[in-house]
Subunit: 340 residues, 2 copies
C-alpha cells in the first residue's frame, strides 16, 4: 500500500459510479465543537401497542397488521410512487420531466419491536433475505417495473420514524441516478473485459487484504477503496450473480451471516444501536441482458467518532465532492477487530 494514502490529501475513484471522494487523512484529529446527536438506547418492549408496524396493530389508514411471525410486507401507506398515476411527459425547451410509476412497500424484519438486524438470529435474517428475493421476483415480473430498490433507514438520525425493525422496497419504471451510473460503468467494463467489474475488483481486494473485514464461503464484507461514509462497508458475493434471487439456499444463509456479522460489529463500535442507510444494488428487471451486473449490498452509516458525533455531508460535499478524514483502511481495521 502506498503510504501517501494514509498521510496526505488525495481523491479516490469509485469504479462503479465514476465519481471521486476527497480523502484528508491528516485532518482526523481536528476537535469537534458542533452538533451532538441524541443517543436513543432505550429499552424497547417486544410489542408496543402504539407502533403501527407491530403485529395485530392498526395502521394509520385503518388496516390491521396480521399476527405475523417472520418478515411481513405491505404496500406503503404513503407511497412516493404509484402504479395508478397517469403517464405523461413535459418537454418544453429546457423544462424536462417524465411521469414515474412504481410500487413502494414496507418490510417488517421481525414481529419483535425490540430487535434490529444486529440482534436477530442468522436463521431469522435468512427469512428476511428470502422475502427480499420473493419481492424482487414479484415486483420485477410486473410490466411497469424495471428496477427494484431494497433499502433500510435505521435510526432517527437517518430519518427513520419508527424503531420497529423494518426496511423499504421502492420499485419503479426507470432507473434512478445511482443505478444508471453503476449500470453504465459495469457495462463498459464487461463489454471490454468479458468479466465482472466488481468480481475483478474483489479478487484484487482479496489479494491486497487491507480492507477486508470478514468473509465466509460465499461473501466478503469490506470497506470499498472509494468509501465515502466514515464506516461505509459493502457485502459482495464471491460469485458474479446479477441479483439476489440467484442465490442458492446455502448462499442465502451465508448472506444472512454476513449481514449479521457486520451489523453486530457496527453496534460494538460505539456501543450504540448503529444508525445507517443500507441498500442493495442489483440488475434492473427490464428484461434486457444484465450479465454485466454484480449485485452488492452497501451500508452508509453517518457516525464519525462516537455515538453522538456524525459526519456532515454539507457545503463542500454538496457543491463539490464527498469528503472524509479517516481512511477506508483505518475504518476496516477498526471494524475487523470487532467481528466476533
Amino acid at each position: 500500500m502506498n503510504t501517501n494514502l494514509q498521510d496526505y490529501s488525495h481523491k479516490r475513484f469509485n469504479i462503479l459510479t465514476g465519481e471521486w471522494v476527497l480523502v484528508s487523512p491528516h485532518r482526523a484529529k481536528r476537535p469537534w465543537q458542533g452538533q451532538n446527536e441524541a443517543v436513543a438506547n432505550e429499552n424497547r418492549p417486544a410489542h408496543d401497542p402504539e407502533c403501527y408496524l407491530c403485529a395485530g396493530n392498526t395502521r394509520i389508514n385503518g388496516e390491521k397488521n396480521p399476527d405475523y411471525k417472520d418478515a411481513f410486507v405491505f404496500t406503503n401507506d404513503f407511497a412516493a410512487l404509484q402504479t395508478t398515476s397517469p403517464v405523461f411527459s413535459v418537454n418544453e425547451g429546457l423544462f424536462k420531466a417524465e411521469s414515474e410509476q412504481g410500487i413502494c412497500k414496507v418490510i417488517c424484519f421481525s414481529p419483535d419491536h425490540s430487535k434490529s438486524l444486529a440482534d436477530m438470529a442468522v436463521e431469522d435474517i435468512t427469512k428476511v433475505v428470502k422475502t427480499w428475493q420473493a419481492e424482487y421476483d414479484l415486483l420485477g415480473a410486473n410490466e411497469a417495473i424495471n428496477y427494484v430498490q431494497i433499502f433500510e433507514n435505521k435510526g432517527a438520525v437517518m430519518g427513520c420514524s419508527n424503531p420497529h425493525p423494518h426496511g423499504q422496497i421502492w420499485s419503479q419504471s426507470t432507473l434512478p441516478n445511482e443505478v444508471e451510473k453503476k449500470d453504465l460503468h459495469q457495462k463498459t467494463y464487461y463489454d471490454t473485459h468479458k468479466s465482472s467489474l466488481l468480481g475483478d475488483y474483489l479478487k484484487q481486494e482479496l489479494e491486497a487484504h487491507e480492507r477486508i473485514i470478514y468473509q465466509n464461503d460465499h461473501f466478503v464484507v469490506l470497506t470499498p477503496f472509494w468509501a465515502v461514509w466514515p464506516f461505509e462497508t459493502m457485502i459482495v458475493p464471491k460469485y458474479n450473480y446479477t441479483n439476489i434471487s440467484e442465490l442458492s439456499d446455502a448462499e442465502s444463509i451465508a448472506f444472512a451471516d454476513a449481514i449479521s456479522k457486520i451489523t453486530k460489529a457496527y453496534d460494538a463500535l460505539f456501543q450504540v444501536s448503529f444508525p445507517y442507510s443500507s441498500g442493495i444494488h442489483q440488475a434492473p428487471t427490464n428484461g434486457q441482458d444484465n450479465s454485466h451486473w454484480h449485485w452488492h449490498m452497501s451500508f452508509y452509516p453517518p457516525l464519525l467518532r462516537s455515538a453522538t458525533v456524525k459526519k456532515f455531508m454539507v457545503g463542500y460535499e454538496m457543491f463539490g465532492s464527498p469528503q472524509r478524514d479517516i481512511t477506508a483502511e483505518q475504518a476496516a481495521d477498526r471494524l475487523r477487530a470487532l467481528v466476533v
Copy 2:
C-alpha cells in the same frame, strides 16, 4: 403549466448536472413521526469571548484574530487541502487515486457574532461579495489552483460548529464531481447553441413566471425546475458572466441585495434563523476558455415543514435519486410571499 406536475409522481431533469429528481406531490400530507431538530434561537452577544472567530480572540492554533471591522479571511486551521502535500498517483488495477493540492480558507462575514447574512445591511453583504471576488482572483491566480469553491454551512443541523457568521473557500487543483458535471453540460450546450445554457433557461423562467421569487436589475432569485431540497433556490445573474469577479460595482450591490432578500425570506418562513448550505458554482481557474460557464449561487436548506422537521436525504435518495414531496412551484409561491 402541466397540472400533472402538481398532482402525480414524476421525475424532473437537471439540465446542469444531467441527473434527475423524483417528485411525489401527492405525498406532501403524510404525518411526521420521526426526529425533530432542536431550535437554536438563542440571543447571541455581539462579541463572545469564547468564540474563535470573533475579533481579537485567539484561535486554537494560538493565532490571534485581528480587530477586523468587515469581512475577514484566514487559512483554515484544520484545512482538508494543503499546497505542501506531495504529488502522487495510485494506479494499481482497479485501485485508482490522485493526490490533491489546495488551500482552504475561512471567511468571517462580520465581526458581529450575533448576526447572519439575513440580518446584515446590503452594504455589509456587498463587502462580503467583494471579498469573495478578491479571493477568487487571488486563489485562481495560484498555479496549483484550478477551481475555487465558495460555500457556507449555516446552522448546527448543517454541520456548522460555530454560530458566528462565516463561510468557507476551498480551492484545489482539480474539478470536484459536481463542478465536472456542470462544466460538461454547459459546454455541450454552448458548443451546440452558441449561447449560455443557464442564460437560455433564465429567459424561459422569466416567461413562465412560475418559479421566480424575486428580481432586481441584474439578478433573479428562483426555485429551479429541478430543485431537490424542499426550499432550494438559486440566484442567477441576468448577464452571462462566467465568474463573480466580472461584476461591476452596481452589479455587486445587486447581488448583495438578492442575497439579503432570499435569506430574509428564509428566516420568515418558519420564524427561525434558517439553516442551509449555500455555494457558488463558477468557471474553473484553469486558464482554459470557460465562456460556456454562467455562474450562479444556490441555497440547499434542509427544513421541510417547520423549524424542527427537516427532509432526510437517506435510503432511497442515497441509493436511487433525490426525492421531494412539495413541488418547486409550491415552494416558490411560499417564498415569494415572504420577500419584503
